[in-house]
């Protein structure tokens, strides 16, 4: 029997971001485990794109993401004092937010990018640049850590879901079938 020590299935966790159509923002749909980024994208496709619509997927190792809820930021502002290493070069960070408490299958949404030397600095800048009435959650993701699905694989990876109409509830006429049966059956 596989014990906890074997690390048999506990591969690194990757967060997945799905873009439904070109021009729409990437949104976090959930996570998968995978031994590498390539497998993370494939697992992500199997787990999150069994149905349309998807144009592009991003996978990011979870440990590379700076995630902070509004509660965490209010409770502890120690992150503001995280020093910037003297040799830290500016790099691009992608900024994600959760701004609603409405019921949803998705979590944070990509709102824009900025350059900073550390993730904490990026968060500080983002709070000004992407200020919104209610930001419940911030995710700061280094752009260099994002694995992107190939544009030329859109057809083979994501389009087949469109033809699998039997996965959609609209493909079944059970409601009208039952209405018809009840109408024609003497009670």
């Amino acid at each position: 029997m596989s014990g906890n020590s074997t690390r048999d299935t506990q591969w690194p966790r990757f967060e997945l971001f799905q873009q439904e159509q070109p021009g729409k923002p990437h949104v976090n749909v959930g996570s998968v485990h995978a031994p590498d980024g390539e497998m993370a994208l494939l697992n992500g496709r199997d787990v999150f794109v069994r149905r349309p619509e998807c144009h592009n997927l991003w996978a990011v190792p979870a440990r590379q993401i700076l995630a902070r809820t509004a509660m965490e930021l209010a409770a502890d502002d120690g992150w503001l004092d995280v020093p910037v290493p003297p040799d830290a070069a500016p790099q691009l960070y992608r900024i994600f937010q959760k701004t609603t408490q409405r019921r949803s299958m998705n979590y944070v949404t990509h709102v824009g990018d900025l350059e900073a030397r550390t993730a904490e600095e990026a968060l500080k800048l983002a709070q000004r640049r992407f200020a919104a009435a209610d930001v419940f959650v911030w995710w700061i993701v280094p752009a260099a850590a994002i694995l992107v699905s190939d544009e030329d694989q859109v057809e083979s990876l994501f389009r087949p879901a469109r033809d699998k109409t039997y996965r959609q509830p609209q493909a079944y006429r059970t409601l009208s079938q039952m209405q018809e049966i009840k109408r024609t059956t003497p009670t």
Binding site: S2, M71, Q101, S104, M105, R167
Partner: protein, 312 residues
């Protein structure tokens, strides 16, 4: 901030309808209850692939085969959504999978009953998935963000599971006497295990009050069970199928279909491992885990070579 003040703030947030997210403060009991519920739910999705999965190769036609394959694939995905939701609470998927494979974990006892013929898939789709949707629709309103999101995603997908089953039951009910007999037999065997899926009666469900106060559940077991029975009985009777409950009666005053006593001794027997298929289900899971080992090893070896720059 003191623990009492944190608890007060936490309960106020839930009362306002805010979601609790990973990283937010939460009482230890809330975290433990959620790990218990979400991991059991994840295991149920994974074990739930088995009763129907056995019929994929014996589907009566290509359409039914594609539909069943898609449904079972969905259950695998649902298990992953849920393991990942539980992981945000500080348990690892591997710990949960180990608990399942070693027989320490619970899962929905309904999956310990056998699927004897194709009509069972029809009844499972309509009744078992229908009952699961009732529970999951409630849980989509759960106060814990990751569980709620997993449930919203799952409900959107389960709707097709229920409808494909119902479509088949309708077809059987309008078929030959032998086909009608097949689906009636399946209904007779699955009706009571389905009602047990909603859990113990409210009078004996000790976890419920706190789960409701913390917005994990928003309705009770008996409420959901009654709503399910009220919806199913008129539909089954329109199809001229008999509910296997001699005491079933309509109560004018409440508008409820009152069902007879549920055999909770049977429920506990199955939960304790003495159901018709408990051993078979665990054996199949362990076998699948062993059969997949070489794939996991190959994936890891490839990742390591890639890391070392040995992949060209």
């Amino acid at each position: 901030m003191s623990e009492a003040a944190q608890l007060q703030q936490f309960e106020e947030r839930i009362a306002r309808g805010e979601k609790i997210e990973p990283g937010d403060w939460m009482p230890e009991k809330y975290r433990q209850q959620l790990i218990r519920m979400i991991s059991q739910h994840a295991h149920s999705e994974i074990v739930g692939m088995l009763p129907e999965g056995a019929w994929i190769t014996r589907a009566p036609n290509l359409r039914r085969k594609m539909v069943l394959l898609a449904k079972v694939q969905d259950e695998a995905g649902h298990g992953q959504y849920l393991y990942h939701a539980a992981e945000t609470l500080g348990i690892s998927r591997e710990e949960m999978i180990d608990a399942l494979l070693e027989g320490r974990a619970k899962y929905a006892s309904v999956f310990n009953y056998p699927t004897l013929n194709w009509a069972d898939n029809a009844i499972i789709g309509w009744l078992v998935d229908g009952a699961a949707i009732k529970n999951q629709t409630m849980l989509a309103r759960c106060s814990y963000g990751p569980y709620s999101r997993a449930m919203v995603r799952i409900c959107a997908e389960e709707s097709f599971h229920m409808k494909q089953g119902k479509e088949m039951v309708i077809q059987y009910a309008q078929g030959t006497p032998l086909q009608r007999q097949m689906v009636q037999d399946a209904l007779n065997r699955w009706w009571w295990p389905t009602l047990m899926m909603f859990g113990l009666p409210d009078s004996e469900s000790y976890n419920s009050p706190q789960l409701i106060r913390w917005g994990i559940k928003t309705r009770t077991n008996d409420e959901l069970r009654q709503e399910f029975v009220n919806e199913l009985v008129p539909e089954l009777s329109a199809l001229d199928l008999a509910v296997p409950d001699p005491e079933l009666r309509y109560d004018e005053e409440s508008g409820n279909w009152i069902y007879g006593p549920i055999d909770w001794d049977e429920f506990w027997q199955v939960v304790k491992g003495n159901g018709p298929c408990n051993e078979e289900r665990l054996r199949a899971r362990r076998q699948a885990h062993e059969d997949g080992r070489w794939v996991r090893e190959a994936m890891l070896a490839y990742a390591e070579k890639q890391e070392a720059g040995l992949v060209v």
